[in-house]
């Protein structure tokens, strides 16, 4: 009776999840198996896994997936590196004005990404961009949105906006660490680097894992910067997977194909997350 009551309490949540998550997920899978176009919904026919097979030959899709992976890897590793360094710095009691910096460093996170995209579109503009003018003043002429640089530029914008998130999480993790092992290490004569490498990093592993996974999943969704700045160009050099799916699904109205792409994306992300979990857990 007691157990039954417990499950009964869960019922509203399960129902809500089924409705909000289960139904759309199932429906979009069903859509991916059909020739489903928004301009001809009535005429949608069952085509099985044809969309999935067609994806194998679809160069634009794989280019977009590769671009996204490069973007995620670049952005998240830089954010981790910067976030961890800043967190270590702000964690030190001797750092001057740490409370002030703590709050000021978090501000980029509060801006909506589309606004960040528009901001950087102007900051990096070759005609009137402040950053362009500053780099030119020191003799550096960088074409931020050339075919070679554009994807990296977008990753750097992501780093600007989301390093604070890494910082926030890692700082919380650092502050939760017990003092005793560090005191013992100091007594044993460990250097700062040794206590970082042998104590801080291993003890921080769960937090690192969470931070990387959350940021990674978030970075996979990159859309706003692409939309506001490059529209996937030059060529296909900044076409990310979400932007590609948006174009196929909502600009060309080919929802069946777009759903198939979304499912392949889910599979790729799942593989990545599971691998990451296993490797970090085992270590």
């Amino acid at each position: 009776m007691h157990i039954a009551f417990r499950y009964r309490l869960l019922l509203p949540l399960i129902t809500a999840l089924l409705l909000i998550v289960g139904y759309p997920l199932g429906f979009s899978f069903w859509v991916s198996l059909q020739d489903y176009r928004l301009t001809a919904i009535e005429g949608a026919t069952w085509i099985g896994i044809e969309h999935y097979i067609a994806l194998l030959r679809n160069n634009s899709f794989w280019t977009a997936l590769r671009n996204t992976l490069v973007f995620v890897a670049t952005a998240v590793s830089l954010e981790l590196l910067l976030g961890l360094s800043l967190a270590m710095l702000l964690h030190r009691r001797t750092t001057l004005g740490r409370n002030f910096f703590r709050s000021i460093l978090l501000t980029p996170m509060f801006i909506t990404p589309i606004a960040v995209g528009l901001m950087f579109r102007f900051l990096l503009n070759s005609q009137l961009g402040v950053i362009t003018k500053l780099t030119e003043a020191i003799g550096l002429r960088i074409d931020w949105f050339s075919a070679q640089n554009a994807l990296l530029t977008l990753a750097l914008i992501d780093v600007w906006q989301w390093t604070p998130f890494m910082l926030l999480l890692l700082l919380a993790g650092l502050e939760a660490l017990p003092e005793e092992p560090f005191e013992a290490a100091r007594v044993d004569g460990a250097s700062a680097w040794q206590s970082f490498w042998h104590l801080t990093l291993p003890m921080l592993r769960p937090t690192l894992l969470a931070a990387i996974v959350i940021r990674m999943l978030d970075a996979f969704k990159v859309y706003e910067y692409v939309y506001a700045i490059t529209r996937g160009g030059p060529g296909e050099s900044t076409e990310t997977i979400q932007y590609h799916i948006y174009r196929v699904g909502f600009l060309y109205y080919r929802l069946g194909e777009a759903s198939a792409m979304a499912y392949v994306l889910i599979a790729v992300i799942l593989v990545l997350v599971v691998t990451l979990f296993y490797s970090l857990r085992r270590a």
């Binding site: 759309p24 997920l25 979009s28 005609q127 075919a147 996937g232 160009g233 979304a262």
Partner: protein, 441 residues
């Protein structure tokens, strides 16, 4: 954790299941009962947030005074939001929008999908409407398989906008003559355009503010070059010819112009950036919408002290890319008659004249030939040039998959300009992709 994974998918699925906001639209007056019917009707009109919208909104006050039973509610939004909103409204059991505007790449797609109401009967019944008065190429965009689904709202045909003061400068004229042995003139061929553009670049001012941004922009600009070289996307039989010799020539010249006469690092430039370059006096010419001329010449406009120094001409080669918005009525509206009453009033000769005088982009021949419009508007020369441009213009692309063709071809073109694909490879790939899109079941 899992919910993070689900988000991208949810976006799709929810969009399908979500219903657009509904507006209650009472029954429209029947044509027999006349416009001043007793049943009040509210029409929701979707608009793009551009200066032309402001003019329409202002004029509509007169409409509401004349037809007190029809209330107009505008929903203005940026271009990018419109396609989704329109589709959601088409698919809903009851239309969100009773009057819509349709961009030309969407016309065949929406009409053939059965989303739009044919307007032939309405037009035939409307006394004094004079449908033939709309410029031919504009009128034809609204005609799909012999039926009229849209009447023109405004044009965005492309023209060559130049700094006339630079062309008239005796110093530049002398230098050009000394170098090329001919007079410095407004270019009428691609080769001539390149020569002039390079000349200005040598004088320290960029020859052309180009718009090679991926997708729509580069395709829209380059297609003028393609026409000038004698090429096209499809031939008259509908075969894809975008990889022929004319297209090769057009793209080679376009890339040379970008490398040798356009501002550096402008690979990502669209409309805003090139306009800014010209308005700031950094570039001597651009290929842009014909109605940018009055904006640039406005004393309190973006060009500041340069206002009044700009002039409009036909693009080199004469034939221009035509863009246009059309008014249309969705099939699922409950107020079709009232919707037509509004459209007919707004696009009538009288109202259209007011709209053009206030700065709206012209669509009717009679309006462009009206001395009152010349005098109260932007002068005889401007309207005559616009008429010439419109009469020799062809839409960007037609067919139910125009939007996709424009974007895909525009991606390859941009790759070629960026140097990541050769001209030959880019055009071959563009042709192959276009064939694939057209032949898809």
């Amino acid at each position: 954790m899992k919910r993070f994974l689900l988000k991208p998918l949810l976006t799709f699925a929810l969009a399908l299941t979500a219903c657009a906001p509904m507006t209650t639209t009472p029954v429209a007056p029947s044509p027999e009962s006349g416009p001043a019917s007793v049943q009040p009707v509210t029409l929701t009109v979707i608009m793009e947030q551009v200066p032309d919208y402001d003019i329409v909104a202002e004029l509509t006050k007169e409409f509401e005074a004349k037809y007190p039973s029809i209330n107009i509610e505008f929903e203005a939004m940026p271009y990018d939001a419109m396609r989704d909103k329109l589709l959601t409204s088409f698919l809903a059991s009851k239309a969100t929008y009773d009057v819509i505007i349709v961009d030309n790449p969407w016309m065949d797609e929406f009409a053939k999908a059965g989303f739009l109401l044919p307007l032939d009967d309405y037009i035939a019944k409307e006394t004094g409407y004079d449908f033939e008065d709309f410029v031919g190429p504009l009128r034809e965009i609204g005609r799909v398989e012999g039926k009229i689904y849209g009447v023109p709202y405004y044009n965005y045909a492309l023209g060559l906008i130049v700094r006339q003061d630079l062309f008239d400068d005796p110093d530049y004229q002398a230098k050009f003559k000394a170098k090329h042995g001919e007079a410095l003139q407004i270019p009428t061929t691609l080769e001539g355009y390149l020569k002039v553009a390079k000349f200005f670049k040598e004088q320290g001012i960029h020859g052309i503010a180009m718009q090679p941004q991926r997708g729509y922009k580069v395709f829209e600009e380059w297609k003028n070059w393609l026409y000038a070289a004698g090429g096209n996307l499809l031939d008259e039989q509908g075969n894809v010819i975008i990889d022929n010799a004319a297209a090769q020539k057009a793209l080679e010249l376009y890339i040379t112009a970008y490398r040798e006469a356009a501002p550096p690092s402008s690979l990502n430039w669209g409309f805003d950036e090139s306009l800014r370059a010209v308005a700031a006096g950094e570039a001597a010419t651009m290929i842009s919408y014909n109605w940018m001329l009055p904006t640039l010449n406005k004393p309190d406009g973006p060009a500041g002290n340069l206002a009044g120094k700009f002039a409009l001409y036909e693009v080199p080669g004469g034939k221009a890319v035509l863009g246009a918005w059309h008014w249309a009525i969705p099939k699922n509206t409950a107020s079709a008659d009232a919707a037509w009453t509004f459209i007919a009033w707004l696009t009538s000769k009288e109202t259209d004249k007011q709209r053009v005088i206030k700065g709206g982009a012209p669509i009717r021949v009679s309006v462009m030939k009206d001395p009152e419009v010349w005098q109260k508007g932007f002068g005889q020369q401007y309207y005559e040039t616009v008429l010439k441009i419109l009469e020799d213009a062809e839409p960007l692309a037609r067919g139910t998959r125009a939007e996709e063709i424009i974007n895909e071809v525009g991606t390859f073109l941009n790759s070629a300009v960026a140097g990541s694909m050769s001209v030959n490879d880019a055009l071959k790939a563009a042709a192959e992709k276009t064939r694939e899109i057209i032949n898809r079941p």
